[in-house]
């Protein structure tokens, strides 16, 4: 593998000059510039990243740790973040916590060893040891979509309150009174925010505040289905159901069909926080709050980059939109 030394030799210049040219540095004579570039091209020279990193004490790499890359929200966010980072000359190391705290800590250790310049992460729960040590080392860090107790870091995520507001307005417009709510994990900031906004807003939107209509799930399909079944078993007859996230809504769908049959289930309007493209193909089609994962990803990158420059990074709550499919 050609090194910068080879390039310098072939171009007939000193090591320093070669380095300067290759880094687009300030003053270099056009002649040597040309020859270095030519030599590099001929040799197929690619700078040795680790060596640069060692010397410069920065890697131009950002770590992105998501809860689950298979979750469309995160895969879209990751994609957008990568594009944004690349546009700014940064590479993104993408890793997956698999909704598991241990794996998350593992990844964080790897990131730390790679000496990433900054980190974006969607936390699994409370602060882990590795995270604490990264914070201590003053690595620029931003949080994605979920907050962490007792850790004050810039936050980039969905505007849950605004999104729930959209749903409340929609339900009211459609004239629903008996609306079931299948929520998320109460230990997750996302779950708490959505629940509070919804429960608190019911009365003002003409929605029943009967607690028999409300159950907490776990943001997973299984748990949500179970929660929905518990609600139905109470003998209530909701005309609509609001699922607190995408997976929850899928669980709701499953439970409704299982308990009521496809036809009766189809008579109940289902509204979701989080939109999946295929909701348009469900029957009846599902109305959903679409949160802009791309915008969050881009904003998060800009946030770490600001931190990297020593500027403060302001938290961002990205507004959602309602995809109304209730007209079939």
């Amino acid at each position: 593998m050609a090194t910068i030394k080879d390039v310098a030799a072939r171009a007939g210049v000193g090591l320093g000059t070669a380095s300067r040219v290759l880094n687009g540095s300030t003053q270099t004579s056009p002649s040597s510039r040309e020859r270095v570039l030519a030599a590099a091209a001929e040799l197929g020279y690619v700078a040795h990243g680790p060596a640069r990193a060692l010397r410069r004490t920065r890697t131009d790499a950002l770590g992105l740790l998501v809860s689950d890359i298979r979750n469309p929200f995160f895969s879209e966010l990751a994609h957008a973040a990568e594009q944004e980072a690349r546009a700014h000359g940064y590479a993104v190391l993408l890793a997956n916590a698999n909704e598991d705290e241990r794996q998350a800590d593992d990844v964080l250790r790897t990131f730390a060893s790679q000496r990433i310049d900054g980190l974006m992460l969607s936390p699994q729960g409370p602060a882990t040891p590795q995270l604490a040590s990264l914070v201590e080392r003053d690595v620029p860090i931003v949080l994605l979509n979920r907050r962490i107790e007792g850790v004050d870091l810039p936050f980039f995520g969905t505007d849950n309150e605004q999104g729930v507001g959209l749903v409340l307005d929609h339900l009211q417009r459609r004239g629903h009174r008996d609306v079931a709510y299948v929520g998320g994990t109460p230990t997750m900031s996302t779950g708490v925010e959505r629940a509070r906004a919804y429960l608190g807003g019911r009365a003002a939107h003409g929605i029943s505040t009967d607690d028999a209509l409300v159950e907490a799930g776990d943001f997973q399909t299984e748990g949500a289905a179970a929660a929905m079944l518990r609600i139905l078993d109470r003998g209530v007859h909701p005309s609509a159901v609001f699922g607190a996230n995408g997976a929850t809504t899928v669980g709701v769908l499953r439970a409704l069909r299982e308990r009521l049959g496809a036809d009766a289930a189809a008579a109940i309007e289902v509204v979701s926080f989080d939109d999946f493209d295929w909701f348009a193909y469900a029957s009846p089609a599902i109305t959903a709050v679409r949160n802009d994962a791309s915008a969050i990803g881009r904003a998060a990158v800009q946030g770490v980059l600001a931190l990297l420059r020593g500027e403060p990074a302001e938290s961002v709550r990205v507004a959602t939109t309602l995809v109304d499919r209730s007209g079939h």
Copy 2:
């Protein structure tokens, strides 16, 4: 940031000893071993990856370049690959080509500069310059799901022929004669293989070989919808449609509804190569070939690792299964 020098000093041993202990190396006295480990823990020492890489000329990192991380097939594959790699002590650098050759080449350059030990990629098209240079450098490389013209590299992907066979059997069992086929890009090995298997197998399965029922899409939703419309515009009346991949099937669904209305569309059985979980919630539910992205991801990692050990890597065609949802 604590360096190994700090650790050695604090443990009262030489640099070499510290390094040996930290690498779980052979012969080190229990006493120094203990003290080094203690010192490292107290200092929160994390080895400097780039420095190690520089010295050892390996990074213990594998590159994974997928066509589009938002495609569930790839996000699941990526997830499985990461798990498998981690189990073998390797980190995965995951990057996204965004179905764009230029971006792919960009990523490859970054990978090259990072000096990844091995590469797994799903090619966008023909070999790019950067890929050629990686091949030349003898970096272990395996291909995911798509082949490249003129490049002979171990391949890990779906068994398209077997999968299409499952569909043909299913269609025959259901008694379909007039089956429309919306295919993929003819320039992509995946598209070619599926088309060949399907078109060639029709006669033997009692399916009409009328070419008016066949159109090529582009493996994207838009293109597939257009292709489906072209077929319908010919005045044919298929009783079933086979979509050559997941996105294609979504396009098919959209086109059918748009042109025939929801009710008439629901009378046509749609079968898909690639399964999405929500196909169970479409109406009618969609029968699909499920290809095992996780198995492919794991096999691919094992392939590069074999190459890394100097062993040959045998290509793997992972068998698919049919998820039959035709009974509603």
